[in-house]
Symmetry: C3
Subunit: 270 residues, 3 copies
């Protein structure tokens, strides 16, 4: 299934529309191209519906939210819903400000998301309407470990049931789950948290994988997580610091084959 | 002539003003520096005329168009016209939305462009007021091949006659043409389409080359295309994936000499 | 002291809020992570005060100024002042337009800056309300040399006395000075001026170093300059062009140890 998911992206070259932050937007475009998909970024309310309609998936990322783009996100997300295109929410820094938290609530109310991809702090902020956010990283107290895994999965499934979305939580241990089934993924490397954009790129990949694998969204999202984590492992093995790690991460995404993905996956169903 | 064009950029270090998209803006700044030019980006209507006046060329790139920057583009373009500075239009995604197409028409009506640099789909969208755009890439049916080259050149010359601009079309085969004379360039590498920004960077280089070679704009634009294509070839030969390709592309632009450019050029007058 | 400054950043992992330009924002985020700090970028007036309050330092960078973000800068800077968090001004291109100069004056009037970090042209533009700016680089006539060093230091100290800020001037010779004491730093490499973002990244590092070393702000700012300059030297020694230089610069920032910093520093008190 992992192999098929990757092959479908490379064969189908899905065009993905991202309304995203200007910190990591270039990385998001490049990771989509590296994976075999195609990016388009547009955020003006006057065109986002048309751009969404041209694409096969949409990502809404609130990393550098502003009043102008909130409206654009609503329009794009609702258009994607109308067309039954997958929509991914990346609630960057949810909980860090009232604006971020209230915008997430607004988006969750007005748009049906197929996947919500964040760290556990962000997911908790959405679920609880509270939670502390240390910049864009998960607070230490909120990390998923082998010890609290069962509790975390139960929490995540409950939020999936509430939202109807696959909840895809990245961290040292990843959990990709719908209301009933969960994948636990242990690919990845700590170096991924020493560059900006690991999370944003992962959300973009999830959108591309969903677009190309519409019949198996949970497996598609999990495959995107395995790909990103495996790329992080491969990049870390050949990097001399954080600059080359970023470069090598894109190299790895662009060269990992379906066979590599299967061979390197550290994934179990929970 | 190619050699002189490159040497004039490195000797003159032209300052180039770009109103451009936030996806590839960093790449555009870095490619200008790599080529020996100097970048400045500014997009607020309150200052763009002054910034344009400080510079020797202006690029208007509609990649992430919004209502605020359209007004800034008009002001900057008209100021550049008044000062007889070269102005380059990069109609990213023209045809993908009504906003993009109508904005291009507005810009073409209000500003005299020296060069319009796009892929053939974008150029067709401008010329016909129609055309399909697959994200930022030329649709397959619209690619210029040896078989349809004569037809393509005739089409491009007609659009040049209509607009008064040099039409610079990038693809597997590039065409850089005014109403009477055309250069066909076969430098480049498919890897260039697997990173974001190849086209945007090329538009920035065209502006720098025009600024430094005011007596020979057609040759200057063609030289910028040869430089970018040759850099793509050199980068592809030493890259391990799309991440390192992007890095190596900038390395190549920064190290290609006038001799290299002449020796590596695959250019003919048509 | 240099060693302690670096160690305090790595141990304390200060979260830094940047309201900055979209040209180099990704580089700024990555250099903060490379140095052991943590970045957050936000620029909407509706949330910047909350984000500032979460952080331990704030950077205001006017590189791609617009009316919307000026208001956000005022709110963030005043909030940082109220919380006694360090605030760094990067007056990119001050003097290049009336908007940039008047905005700097407004920010200087309404916010107490701990450090103003620019090239000598920008600092002169702030000090004199005049000055010519060649894009983002110091005009040649304005460079600090051994011959004019005493004069430059006197000028910089006077501006420090006037503003109450540490004035941190980057160039071939750096001067980091308050009204009474000055450090002269000769680390660095000309390649740093051939990529975009060297200055912006340095301003971000200064903010992180001040946050982690509140008792010694002058030494902290100087240490950030030594780190950036030393990283430039190390990167230049192993780079094949401007693309790899940028990558290697981040590698160097991420791997330079406290011992390296002390051993490689070219710093004297003036």
């Amino acid at each position: 299934m992992l192999k098929t998911c990757l092959e479908n992206v490379r064969a189908g070259c899905p065009l993905v529309h991202s309304i995203t932050n200007y910190v990591t937007v270039n990385d998001c475009a490049n990771v989509l191209l590296a994976a075999g998909a195609s990016p388009i970024m547009s955020d003006d309310a006057g065109e986002v519906e048309e751009i969404t309609a041209l694409c096969r998936a949409t990502v809404l990322n609130i990393g550098t939210l502003n009043e102008r783009t909130i409206q654009s996100m609503l329009l794009a997300g609702q258009k994607a819903n109308a067309l039954a295109h997958p929509v991914v929410l990346d609630p960057v820094g949810a909980g860090a400000s009232a604006l971020r938290t209230s915008t997430c609530r607004l988006l969750l109310r007005e748009i049906k998301f197929n996947v919500i991809r964040g760290n556990i702090s962000e997911i908790k902020a959405l679920a609880l309407g509270s939670g502390s956010t240390q910049g864009v990283d998960a607070a230490l107290a909120d990390q998923i470990t082998d010890a609290n895994l069962a509790e975390a999965v139960a929490y995540i499934r409950a939020f999936s049931r509430q939202t109807g979305a696959i909840i895809a939580v990245s961290g040292a241990i990843d959990v990709v789950s719908d209301a009933d089934r969960s994948y636990i993924i242990k690919n990845g490397h700590p170096a991924m948290s020493k560059i900006t954009g690991s999370g944003c790129m992962l959300s973009a990949l999830v959108a591309a994988y969903l677009a190309a694998n519409p019949a198996n969204p949970l497996e598609a999202a999990a495959a995107a997580f395995v790909l990103m984590g495996l790329a992080g492992e491969k990049a870390a093995a050949v990097s001399a610091g954080t600059g080359s790690f970023r470069t090598n991460l894109l190299d790895a995404v662009s060269t990992i084959t379906a066979e590599d993905l299967k061979a390197g996956a550290k994934i179990v169903e929970f």
